[in-house]
Symmetry: C2
């Protein structure tokens, strides 16, 4: 087990409906020394690629993107959920379906923040059905940016997102890959 | 002018309705070396205080809290913006009025993340009417945490938030204090 898998076993909580709560260390309350390791782990896996920008979605991706950006020494930008008044009207948008809340929402990035010269590493806390990541890919494709890779903290390997993205040719690297959450037990992909 | 004020003059955009857009460097797209300076600036101002936790609100506060937490070597937690129906009994909540969107929203932090032993530094990108910060103060007070200080990147000194908070006895430190945004011109408090 790597440092993230060990942390998940020690501090993660399995809730009803195959939900893994990692709020105490990964996406609500976070320790900077642990998050630094997350950023460095992504750097280790993608340092061979030329990356100009880190991209994520609010809210839980922002801290992960912050520490990843620091490891790469590159800027980061996050997609907002819903259209916000103080975003420029010139935005790329995509509709994302949330299975957790069973509703659609819009994600948006102002056009001025992404362009065809960008070589993007997408990062996020979870990958399950891959709907949010697909929305980001849609936005980045509209901007003619190149998607160099997708760095995920926790991939639910028993859901379809990772398989679909890899099949589409994207390089997806997940720091922890969960095989099963049945019976309150966390099993990782070996 | 300090480093943030210089950046605001160079890259900030004054929009209609006294809105200052700093999305290109402070709360949508960010450079890690610049954000590191923001964290260090808060550390410089609050290093004399004993601080156990950095607290902010999603989404634009999260990156600021990440880099501030790193400067302090302390954990950070963010309040989620929620719809009332998703709330559980295990959270502290407060209702916040947004003047920007003219509506109320609920902010929430799980009870397990804040307690009476916490000495908290609140950080956020903007301070205008102070409604969001007051909501955080409400939550932290429910948790019997001590509020050691409030670190703000950009304070709109021509609005009431800062005055009210200081009058209530809080130590508010703002890296940039804006006196006026009239006629598309940014004037700082001298």
């Amino acid at each position: 087990m790597n440092f993230l898998e060990e942390k998940i076993v020690r501090e993660g909580k399995v809730l009803e409906g195959d939900i893994l709560s990692v709020g105490s260390f990964l996406n609500v309350m976070m320790d900077p020394s642990f998050m630094k390791k997350i950023g460095e782990a992504f750097y280790e896996r993608f340092q061979d690629e030329e990356i100009t920008k880190i991209v994520t979605i609010e809210a839980s991706g922002i801290a992960i993107a912050s520490f990843t950006a620091m490891a790469f020494g590159k800027p980061f930008v996050f997609a907002k959920k819903k259209q916000a008044k103080n975003l420029s009207k010139e935005t790329y948008t995509s509709i994302v379906h949330s299975y957790t809340y069973d509703k659609d929402y819009t994600i948006a990035i102002a056009k001025e923040y992404i362009d065809e010269n960008d070589k993007v590493l997408i990062v996020d806390d979870f990958l399950a059905n891959g709907m949010a990541i697909s929305g980001l890919i849609d936005i980045l494709t509209q901007a003619h940016a190149r998607i160099v890779g997708i760095g995920i903290c926790v991939e639910k390997d028993f859901q379809e997102g990772g398989k679909k993205l890899r099949k589409s040719g994207y390089r997806v690297e997940s720091l922890a890959k969960i095989a099963s959450l049945s019976s309150q037990t966390i099993q990782f992909v070996k």
